[in-house]
Amino acid sequence: MRNYDLITPEGTKDLLFGECIVRRNIEKTLFKLFKSRGYCEMITPGLEFFDVFNLNSQYFPQENLYKLTDSKGRLLVMRPDSTMPIARVVATRLRDAMLPLKFCYNQTVYRTEPALKGRSDEIVQAGIELIGSELKMADLEVISTAVEALRSFGMEFSLEIGHIGIFKELVSHLEVSDNVKENIRKHIEAKNFPALNDLLDTLGSSPITNALKKLPALFGGEEVFEKAEELMPDENIKRILDELKEIYHDACEICDTEGAITVDLGLVNKTDYYTGLIIKGYLQGHGEEVVSGGRYDKLISEFGYDVPAVGFALNVNGVAKVIEKNGVFPSMPKADILVYAVPGCEVAALKAAQEYRDQGLIVENALFDDLDSARAYAMEMRIAKVVVIDETGEDEQE
């Protein structure tokens, strides 16, 4: 049998030194931001019952879940997402709590990705969930938090908004099977114009099919709304469009950065439990979105508690990758002092080191049996000062 005792599983990695600092800095920044807006942290188990993610609407295809069994043989999964566990908690322990509830989290999610593609199976997500408000103010609150989160990394960013309701309304007018609807959705998601046109041509020409054909092209800035208004055949859709336009204008004003807020009416991802507003965030230099979120008014009701909600998750690994690529690599904090104990004076040395630490310095104890080795170590590690402790007391050396 082969031993795998020297490597980590595909899609996982060890983080060292600067990599850890980058990651923790991102997490710290985000948590400070979330908490300053009144979000409380929630920590959910890394292991959940498969059933939590196997609701009627299967948001997570089972082939992408890490599964195992508990001691009773029941099927468990490694948490593939944090929103659904939080929805579970809200629908159970917090059913009688006063609304709105505001939670933030920072935890790892696990999904199987195809091997040898350079993707991680283990992703740290930091995000917020705002539960119990249908108001536009709630959408704006989440959008502005996402903007501030993206802005905090000091890189060029863009936040995109969309609304799943437009697609849902349009296809609801088509008298075709769910299968065909799913194919239409897939082609819109992939902005696959040739296939979308071919498929819709088989359904005849109507204002509905015409609007669906244009949907994936409706992305960009302000001009999208003008184009969309001409196309949309339905009062319901016009209403959604007006709502989205208002949110877009408000978001532009909140963000106050030219071109940073965009709109895409063709955002129709499958694994989404979103029912209304959708948001995506991008950083220049990263090939995938780093923020993903939206309104999910029906998800918590699948756990038996009908309450609206909106939120987003940020891919911490993705952000770390961009920061590292841009070379903003922080160095490890150096120790200020190395304390060397002459044999027999160990206790005195440990006490002396603690006194320095109490002054706020970073202090290491030398783990060498001669002073020269300790000095060589201090040189190598760029520690400015070596303190020698002997029977007579302290002797500082630069």
Binding site: S158, A190, N192, F193, P194, G287
Partner: protein, 209 residues
């Protein structure tokens, strides 16, 4: 000037057809024509940078966003899938996926599970899944036509252009699986963050197809 748009081209015929298309758009493709062994080549007047890669790698580079766009066959897209935008059917590189057997062989008869040899296991699996047919799929790297001749497989799913190879080896197409042509794909973030430039290029391409 902005950083150039990086576009990965599938080496070989699709590369030549794409360069031909770029020249029709009025871009100076001398550097690509006289590439030698270089793999990254500039088209300065289009503010483009061409990357030459194998078909599967075109998708990989575009998915990761290290290339903004790519030109790749629908065959590769169907086999690999992935997350990117599939924007334009370029119309060249036309051929098809087809199911072929030895001439006169009655593929759909009997209850035995059929064995399929192919370079495209995912395409084959999906095709037969849709029919509700269990099949055994064997991946072959080279000339797939050999497998039915050597009686390893009952049929093959492969790319068919003219059908000459099939005919010369006593095989025939019994069913078309899907049409194939070259596609222009784009990274999902690049399309958003460089919308104006990419949009201009696509419009220009569509006018000249």
């Amino acid at each position: 000037m902005n950083k150039p748009i990086r576009i990965a081209l599938t080496k070989g015929r699709l590369e030549k057809d794409t360069v031909g298309l770029f020249e029709k758009l009025g871009f100076d493709c001398t550097a690509v024509r006289e590439k030698g062994r270089k793999l990254i080549l500039p088209i300065p007047d289009g503010n483009l940078e061409v990357v030459l890669a194998k078909a599967n790698d075109v998708i990989t580079y575009v998915e990761h966003g290290v290339c903004d766009m790519g030109v790749v066959g629908k065959d590769t897209i169907m086999e690999m899938e992935g997350k990117f935008y599939e924007l334009v059917d370029l119309g060249f590189g036309r051929c098809k996926f087809a199911l072929a057997t030895k001439k006169g062989y009655d593929f759909y008869s009997g209850y035995g599970i059929k064995t399929i040899a192919t370079k495209y296991p995912n395409v084959s699996r999906r095709f037969f899944e849709k029919k509700g047919m269990d099949t055994e799929i064997i991946k072959i790297e080279g000339s797939v036509e050999l497998a039915p001749l050597l009686e390893l497989a009952d049929g093959i799913v492969d790319i068919v252009e003219t059908g000459t190879t099939l005919k010369e080896n006593g095989l025939e197409v019994i069913e078309d699986v899907a049409p194939i042509s070259a596609r222009l794909i784009a990274n999902t973030v690049s399309l958003k963050l460089r919308h104006a430039e990419i949009d201009r290029l696509i419009k220009l391409i569509e006018e000249n197809l």
